[in-house]
């Protein structure tokens, strides 16, 4: 084991320790076995840097060593042994983070054998974990990496009211899901409002078939979870006979204990307001609404509740609850001071989240909102990192953070710009100019005419 691997492992243990308040809690199964690839001390010089903390620094240098960002600024002291990257005319940003992806659970090719994202057999399936469906050989991971994506949340689909646990992974080519799992990242819970659950179950003439049916089922689930949590907390505190484990309620109880964050697919403003009230009733927090095409109508409410909106730049109208989407949605949420995120929910869109953020930023300009690139970059870096509970580790270019870094061959908010080099924990994991540093999934081997290189 190398020194840096040891350090990461130590960090994992420390973080894991921090997130635990009692010793009795069982060790999490399916623990991360992620190990960074080999890295060398590297300095990137002369770039325009968007830090993800709201700053743009011209002609800056960034020093990465032992997987961490060691220094950033215009005048750095750099060890002589450091590999120098001349980034004159280039831009540097934190690694892109997609807060909403189904890579691996709905992988390419899109065939029935690969349809692993929705356990659409019951409206509440809090017991299932998206990570158990992830196929690490999904060619979409490599394509997303070419778009600068270094971390992503993989979620169950939205067929169910409570679809199961989501997971945060590092976008590193791996044999196993555990090797991708972001060390220390908390689990998440996927919930869904509105049309999808009521269509899926209503069509089978079973509950829920209405929005009120949706709400009743969420509340029933939380009510059960609350009593389960009390039973187990009492057992943890006082001992006695160990209560039976219920994997559904175990997940929900962890939400109520604040250990699992809630990511709620929800389009309409009025439904988001109802979901916020359900959260208040049962004492949990909605970390982020996803899709949130009507977030602009209640951006003030989102700001007040500290709930993020994760949005597309411009998708709309494919179903009725997306009919009121507007191009300025993202910009107006930013204007209201709420946590603003641009997400993909697409294996194509994830390859150019920078362009999606650019469109959203420009939509703001059109209505006179002065949104700067150094702000807009937060939508796809630091803000999703916050929503995923990994902001201590990644999402910004700050000393001590994981060196998840993208060098762009120009302004990342231009359609013509490519991610040229991508680093995860200081290791070069993608180089547009060097096919040897471009991961190729097992599936692509022998199925493509021109292997070696990106699709």
């Amino acid at each position: 084991m190398t020194v840096q691997n040891g350090m990461v492992l130590l960090l994992v243990l420390v973080l894991a320790g921090c997130s635990r308040d009692t010793n009795e809690e069982p060790t999490q199964p399916f623990a991360s076995t992620y190990t960074p690839l080999k890295s060398v001390t590297t300095v990137i010089r002369g770039a325009t840097v968007l830090t993800g903390t709201g700053e743009l620094i011209e002609n800056a240098s960034l020093l990465m060593s032992d997987g961490r960002i060691k220094a950033i600024g215009t005048k750095l002291r750099v060890p002589r042994s450091a590999t120098e990257i001349d980034a004159d005319g280039k831009w540097v940003t934190p690694g892109i983070i997609d807060v909403h992806s189904h890579l691996g659970v709905y992988p390419s090719p899109d065939v029935q054998s690969h349809s692993d994202g929705n356990e659409a057999t019951a409206p509440v399936t809090a017991d299932v974990w998206a990570e158990h469906s992830i196929w690490p050989q999904d060619p979409g991971f490599a394509a997303a990496l070419a778009g600068g994506v270094t971390s992503l949340q993989i979620l169950p689909g939205s067929a169910n009211l409570i679809g199961g646990r989501g997971v945060v992974v590092k976008n590193v080519a791996s044999r196993t899901m555990q090797d991708m799992k972001f060390p220390g990242a908390p689990h998440t819970l996927k919930m869904a409002c509105g049309e999808n659950p009521k269509r899926v179950y209503g069509d089978r003439n079973s509950a829920p078939s209405t929005r009120m049916g949706n709400v009743s089922a969420y509340r029933q689930a939380w009510a059960k979870a609350e009593s389960y949590r009390r039973k187990w907390d009492a057992y943890e505190e006082n001992g006695g006979e160990q209560p039976d484990r219920d994997l559904q309620l175990e997940t929900l109880a962890e939400v109520l204990r604040g250990k699992i964050s809630v990511h709620n697919h929800c389009y309409r403003a009025d439904e988001m307001a109802i979901m916020l009230d359900i959260a208040k009733e049962f004492g949990y927090k909605v970390t982020a609404f996803h899709h949130a095409t009507e977030a602009y109508k209640i951006a003030d409410l989102l700001a007040e509740n500290g709930t993020c909106a994760a949005m597309w730049a411009d998708w709309w109208g494919f179903k009725l609850e997306a009919y009121d989407a507007i191009r300025e949605n993202v910009a107006l949420v930013e204007k209201a001071g709420a946590c603003t995120i641009v997400h993909s929910d697409s294996d194509i869109g994830i390859q150019r989240l920078n362009q999606e953020a650019a469109k959203a930023m420009a939509a703001g300009w059109r209505v006179g909102l002065d949104i700067r690139p150094e702000q807009a970059i937060n939508w796809i870096t630091s803000n999703p990192a916050r929503a995923l509970g990994i902001a201590e580790q990644t999402g910004t270019l700050e000393e001590g953070k994981n060196a998840d870094v993208v060098i762009w061959d120009g302004d990342p908010f231009s359609v013509y710009t490519h991610a040229e080099k991508v680093y995860v924990d200081g290791a070069l994991v993608y180089d547009r100019l060097d096919p040897a540093v471009q991961p190729v999934s097992d599936f692509s081997l022998g199925t493509r005419d021109d292997t070696g290189g990106q699709p």
């Binding site: 390419s108 090719p109 899109d110 065939v111 060619p139 979409g140 394509a143 049309e195 269509r199 602009y296 109508k297 951006a299 003030d300 411009d314 998708w315 709309w316 109208g317 494919f318 179903k319 009725l320 009919y323 009121d324 989407a325 507007i326 191009r327 300025e328 107006l332 209201a336 294996d347 194509i348 390859q351 150019r352 362009q355 650019a358 469109k359 930023m361 420009a362 300009w365 059109r366 209505v367 908010f413 231009s414 359609v415 013509y416 710009t417 490519h418 599936f443 692509s444 199925t447 493509r448 005419d449 021109d450 990106q454 699709p455």
Partner: protein
């Protein structure tokens, strides 16, 4: 340089439906026509047609002058494969008229009666520079017929002359979709298509006998036999959705044998048979950003598709194959350019080429003096994701830049307004 004017346009001018005279100044004009690109120029729109291009032009009286800051003028964007006008909300069945499987009509299924020129999608798309679209029946869904029917070219300019050309192309699916549509194999799908074409030929030669009931049974009904005549006579193209290289080769052979005017739609692996497509003069409609092996028929999808097809000489047009996202066509073009396609070809693939696919259209897809003015004024490079249109002209008429989405936006711009949203004045 003075204003270049066509004498013709003065001779044949059409009366005053388009009274407004407009001069757009300080623009780079990509005509995609004989005049190429004009930098630092001006465009004159008179009586609905392009009166001229030039620098320091004389401005006729009562002319509205639009002076841009480094603006760019291009032909209006033309979506070569959309559901605009025949679909409002995909998951609200009642609003979707582009797909059908229950009826017995296939080739004769015509979208024209279903077109709704008041669809909210049209203003939402046109304020983003989309001026024309092919409204096509949808072949790509689970229960679709092998032959989906006839599409129509529409303009997005309003409720009057929105229909540019009905029955403009016949849409068909082969490959995986075609196989599914006949509940079987590719081989069965291509047989079914061949049989329908042969039946239509036979019908044409023996109409009287058919009417008198003296012909063998045909595989399709009378309306469909009639509708297929346009394809057999090469009056309209047959647009075949197909992705795998071998499926494209198969359809190229079929088109040659049956003497069809073929357009390939989808074409994920078209680049692999680019030389054959070029030799056959077959154009390809594709989404250049679809680079994943989404299906087993698109294992070789790549971001290089557009550039490779263009290099081989194949005509390409870009489409996103849906109803709501035509406004992202220029982002597709930008990405194709970022992956090796020359810039002007990126623009051509969303303007001039699609406009030429379904037969030459007068004043659509190119800017020419004396021809109808269908153009967009952009804040900058139209293929860039941060630019937007400031003005859109369809048939010389300046379009309102309002849509349902801008109304919603304006209503919710200020959340701390004391007036409840429902009472806020419409701006």
């Amino acid at each position: 340089m003075t204003l270049v004017r066509s004498a013709l346009c003065w001779l044949f001018f059409i009366a005053a439906a388009h009274a407004e005279t407009v001069m757009i100044k300080n623009v780079t004009i990509h005509t995609l026509g004989p005049l190429g690109t004009i930098t630092n120029g001006a465009v004159l729109i008179e009586d609905g047609i392009i009166g001229g291009f030039g620098i320091d032009v004389e401005v006729p009286a009562n002319t509205r002058v639009i002076i841009t800051e480094a603006g760019v003028v291009t032909p209006g964007i033309y979506d070569p494969y959309s559901y605009l006008g025949i679909e409002e909300i995909n998951l609200v069945e009642e609003t979707v008229d582009g797909r059908q499987s229950g009826s017995r009509f296939t080739a004769s299924f015509d979208v024209v009666p279903a077109i709704n020129p008041r669809s909210t999608l049209l203003p939402i798309s046109r304020i983003e520079g989309i001026t024309h679209a092919m409204a096509a029946p949808q072949p790509e869904w689970s229960d679709a017929h092998l032959i989906s029917g006839l599409g129509a070219v529409i303009n997005l300019g309003g409720t009057d002359d929105y229909l540019v050309k009905g029955g403009a192309a016949l849409f068909v699916q082969l490959g995986e979709g075609g196989a599914a549509s006949v509940h079987g194999s590719r081989s069965a799908a291509v047989l079914a298509l061949r049989e329908a074409l042969e039946d239509a030929r036979d019908y044409d030669r023996h109409r009287n006998a058919y009417d008198e009931g003296r012909r063998r049974d045909y595989s399709v009904g009378r309306y469909d036999l009639e509708a297929l005549q346009g394809v057999l006579n090469r009056e309209i193209p047959i647009v075949v959705s197909v992705n795998r290289a071998s499926d494209i080769e198969l359809v190229l052979e079929l088109a040659e044998q049956e003497d069809l005017w073929l357009i390939v739609n989808g074409g994920a692996e078209a680049w692999m048979v680019a030389d054959r497509l070029d030799a056959a003069g077959v154009a390809v409609i594709l989404d250049p950003t679809r680079n994943l092996p989404e299906h087993f028929e698109s294992l070789n999808a790549t971001l290089q598709s557009a550039a490779r097809l263009h290099e081989a000489g194949v005509k390409i047009a870009f489409s996103i194959s849906d109803s709501h996202n035509s406004r992202n066509l220029r982002q597709l073009a930008g990405n194709a350019v970022a992956n090796g396609l020359p810039w002007i070809e990126g623009l051509r693939a969303i303007t001039a080429t699609p406009a030429s696919l379904y037969g030459p259209e007068d004043g659509i897809g190119v800017l020419q003096i004396g021809r109808p003015a269908n153009l967009v004024v952009w804040s900058g490079d139209p293929l860039e994701v941060t630019t937007y249109p400031s003005h859109v002209f369809i048939d010389g008429e300046s379009m309102s830049m309002q849509s349902r989405q801008t109304l919603l936006r304006d209503r919710y711009m200020e959340l701390d307004d004391d007036t409840p949203p429902a009472y806020r004045p419409i701006q």
